[in-house]
Amino acid sequence: MKELLLDALHNEALVYTLMAFVPLAWVVPFALFAVWWERKISAHMQDRLGPMRTGGWHGWAQTIADILKLIQKEDIIPAAADRKLYILAPYLVFAGSYAAYAAIPFSAAYVGAGINIGLFYVISISSLVVVGLLMAGWASNNKWSLFGAMRSAAQIVSYEVPVALAILAVVMVSGSFDLQEINRQQAGWFWHWFVFQKFPFLFGALLIYFVASLAEVNRTPFDIPEAESELVAGYHTEYGGMRFALLFLSEYANMFAVSAIASTLFFGGWNSPFGEALAGPVWGLFWFLTKGMAFIFVQMWLRWTLPRLRVDQLMYVGWKVLIPFSFVIVLGVGFWVMALR
């Protein structure tokens, strides 16, 4: 895609700028859709209908109306807030989650930056979100926000360890940090996907990655930083209007980012499940998004089923359950790769 644009425009800076906006063309409609979808899923799980009126068919325009409302809202900055940090924080949070999209391969023909350490880059750049969350909680000058920020910092930092170890297992099998290369290695029928390789180690790695990624994106049962019944709204208690919308957008962007990584690492990314059938750049995009949305659905499903852990129990799960198991997986995969190849 980059080559195509370079041929057409002959301007490298312009091409890269354009390329940077391509994921936005997915993230924003995705967030609008996912919010509506989540409301519908939760409603149907709970014997309700959810939004039914706005836009006509099953309230499809509800989130669009909500966003328009948020844009029109008065921009309130609390008097006691640290103005600069308060304003900066939502952008930093969004930048962190959006930057991860640069290395996510949407299709065989499109990846924002096809760098050979793509996976490494995604792990590290998404940590930037923590800084933004801490900033938001601190700058709001509200004790509930501060609690939320502290919790989310502790949580995200702790759960990055099992995420990294689970990813390491895949890297040991593929021998590459390049997400496109990992995708190419899973080509063919669906049993070539890494989730079915080195059984049960990579399947275990998937479970650990998925659980830990729930914690990284603050979803139930790990939605402790914004635990509504305890902390009101956590770090975004004091945010309203467009700034709140931006934090919300980044949350959904994060949800898709971790789902995309999961589908790339374990479910063949843009590969068709049926070998050469239904393959190709456009079908690749379709498969990639479908797999990502399937993970999003599981995240929503869990959210509307499970209660929430307490903050110390969350740390227990992270350090004493997930990390030891991920070490076992890393050892197992390492042994398999080295000794039994």
Binding site: D47, R48, A227, P307, R308
Partner: protein
Amino acid sequence: MEETMTQPPVTPVAPQATPQGPATVAGFARALKTEEMVISMGPQHPSTHGVLRLELVVDGEVVVDVIPHIGYLHRCFEKHCEHMTNYQQVIPYADRMDYVAAMSNELGYVVAAERLLKITVPERVEYIRVIMAEFSRIVSHLIAIGTYGMDIGAFTPFLYCMRDRERVLDIFEQTCGARLLYNYMWIGGLSHDVPANFAEKVNDFCRYFRPKIRELNDLLSYNKIFIKRTANVGVLPAAVALNYGVSGPVLRGSGVAWDLRKNDPYSVYGKLDFEIPVGKGLKGTVGDCWDRYMVRVHEMEQSVNIIEQAVAKLPPGDIAAAIPKRIRPEAGDIYARTETPKGELGYYIVADGTASPFRVKVKSPCFVNLSALPAMSRGAMIADIVAILGSIDIVLGEVDR
């Protein structure tokens, strides 16, 4: 005594700080100046169940002390009663105390007033009152359980509970036209007789509701995370519970089988067969949040049993036969207590021979149960405070009156 006095005074071992500063982790912690933070939870907070304000003294996430502040919903109920033109007019105000279980409040008041007036009401009225009071218990416990799930972070059980509650409210609506605040039980009788297909509707509900309790147990009660969050949290030992004078599911959760429907029967509860569920500490300690929660689940099952029996026994009769034309009790006083879903609700009525009460004092179970919150909460975490408060199941309308 002498010996201990003669012993040299024990001085605490002072940490040896190195000139360069603290080198160990413990030394570093001592060198950091830490202090407790006071944080205000409520009156505008998603899970204080109304306008309760809790002043939390916290050390990080650990709660050192809790100081409840009440009175945001004070509506001068007791003073209002003194200015009614007659005794019947108090009933709509009684509805508004524990507004999720209004029928139970009415029952307490009419039982007290009827004892004051020394009138007996027809059996049919008593049976209908019991059915309504037990429905009211189911409604109240459904709200308690549903909101408790929400406090713990599970949203879905709440809507399942609200769905089942709707069915009960439909029965109330068919009977007296109101869904929340009924003014249904009058002194000496009822405002309306039950509709023609009442028994059928009630039995339909009972058949529908029993599987729903099992569904609730699968979804929430025995959920691993839910048990982790509630078992061994906010333990209230039986002795402490009795000292605080708590009642209702909070007392029974601590393992004390005390229920006024059995221990001091009123209305026709003596003629009905049911059990008193108590906390047994199945998942943790006796008297923890899970026990209090589970007592409510089992009480709903018992209420369904009571309702089925009462409907089967419902005798014919005139529900308005005993309603007095003129209510003017002789000078005197009465204290009557009934078992509402929240606990022991007592009305103390002083009559001075006129048509309106001289004084009405209410002993509110929620108020008393709330007083045990600090004892349960010290040393817990912030998330536990929400769990403990939810397990007490307060309604601020009744705490403040």
